[in-house]
């Protein structure tokens, strides 16, 4: 049964969202159901350790190493597991490559699915109604709001993450970067370029 409640239990908690979280956290802690130290560990992990820097390393390596790139595009999971980037919300990864002919862009219209081990917690705009509603219907207008205009010969393919498969966009390598090493290349890879709402930075 879907259990639609005419009077949802959450309404018993304080209406202010910060107080609502605090109240629930207190109740759960008193009952030993959550450990405050574990909460700190979870927050520290996603605030400081897991984020778009992981994905940027993967992209820089793919730009630098054709064999790695080919393996990543063919079957990403073992390649990413070797790098230590397997984990929650990244159990089934597919990497899609941007070219002059095709630009890839990722959304989750039904909730907020996102490749956590490679990009961390999604930004607010990714979870917004406007992005979720519009990315599938008018991706080019959405891209324009990110300052991205694609040439008419480039087709847009929008990936709606409706299952447990998570998508990472491999952006095009900027011109003039032939002499750069992987660390320098990684610094050009933005989070948005790996979602497909941005392009990699051009070196100044």
């Amino acid at each position: 049964m879907p259990h639609d409640h005419p009077d949802h239990p959450h309404a018993l908690l304080p209406p202010d969202p910060a107080l609502r979280v605090k109240a629930l956290e207190t109740i759960l802690t008193e009952k030993g159901l959550i450990d405050p130290a574990a909460l700190e560990e979870i927050i520290d992990t996603y605030q400081n350790r897991i984020g778009p820097q992981n994905g940027a390393r993967v992209v820089a390596r793919a730009w630098s190493d054709p064999d790695f790139r080919a393996a990543l595009l063919a079957d990403a999971d073992p390649v990413l597991a070797d790098l230590g980037y397997y984990g929650r919300q990244g159990e089934h990864m597919v990497v899609v490559e941007n070219t002059l002919q095709q630009h890839n862009m990722v959304v989750c219209t039904l909730c907020s699915c996102y490749p956590w081990p490679l990009l961390g917690i999604p930004p607010g705009w990714y979870k917004s109604d406007a992005y979720r509603a519009r990315a599938v219907r008018e991706p080019r207008k959405v891209l324009a709001e990110f300052g991205v205009t694609l040439p008419p010969e480039t087709a847009v393919r929008v990936w709606d993450s409706t299952a447990e498969v998570r998508y990472l966009v491999l952006p095009m390598r900027p011109e003039g970067t032939e002499s750069l090493g992987e660390d320098q290349l990684a610094a050009l890879v933005t989070r948005d370029s790996m979602i497909g709402t941005g392009l990699a930075k051009v070196p100044s």
Binding site: M1, L24, V156, R157, A163
Partner: protein, 225 residues
């Protein structure tokens, strides 16, 4: 019919307002707490990811629309904790029994967080029905598109793609079926495909003739053409 979370293609939401790349991961401290409490409660093992998604989707349309992102999380969590019998309504009102809970021994400890996050929760399964479709094959999503097992139940077939013709792009493997799993009806794994749709088959005013939308869809969502 669908629910309020199924908003792909909806009109009227206005522009996307991207915050910068260097914006904080959590805009407010309580956002971080909401995420951490939700993940920690998931470790109690009383529900799965499909159940927790469905709990957020079952917020009333009024609440879903007015709540911010992490308010949806924390409210869905409170509802689920009561529904699964972990907490009582009295507990939420501060009038519950004192002392340790029977599930306390399952609480996620700080020293196990890294391993739990690294382990993840893969959705692929051995067995299940054989794949019926092959890459390149034309298919149509079934009509009606809502959950066939439970009225008003969870599904991952968005309304905007119901009844549309597409083409199998790839087979992902055999994955847990959310329509069943969200309702305690078993994992019912099925072949899962990436299916591409021409934007012009989904929208009357597609932006470009070559644009496409790809969705991940289970075998029972699809019919051969």
């Amino acid at each position: 019919m669908t629910r309020v979370h199924d908003m792909g293609g909806r009109f009227g939401d206005g522009p996307v307002s991207p915050e910068g790349e260097d914006a904080p991961v959590f805009a407010e401290d309580w956002h971080a707490r909401a995420l951490a409490v939700t993940l920690a409660c998931g470790a109690l093992g009383q529900w799965n990811i499909d159940t927790s998604r469905h709990a957020r989707e079952r917020l009333s349309p009024k609440d879903y629309t007015r709540f911010s992102y992490y308010e949806k999380w924390i409210s869905g969590l409170a509802d689920l904790l009561v529904e699964k019998g972990v907490l009582t309504r009295d507990d939420l009102e501060g009038k519950g029994a004192a002392g340790l809970h029977a599930l306390a021994e399952r609480a996620l400890k700080a020293e196990n967080v890294a391993a739990a996050l690294a382990k993840g929760g893969p959705a692929d399964r051995a067995g299940g029905p054989a794949p019926l479709f092959h890459p390149g094959q034309a298919v149509r999503t079934r009509i009606p598109g809502d959950n066939t097992l439970v009225a008003g139940g969870h599904t991952r077939l968005p309304q905007y793609a119901v009844g549309a013709q597409g083409y199998i792009l790839r087979l992902h493997g055999t994955h847990v079926l959310p329509d069943s799993s969200a309702h305690g009806l078993g994992e019912a794994p099925e072949p899962l495909y990436a299916v591409r749709f021409h934007a012009s088959t989904l929208w009357a005013h597609a932006e470009h003739p070559e644009d496409e939308v790809v969705l991940d869809l289970w075998q029972s969502y699809l019919e051969p053409l």
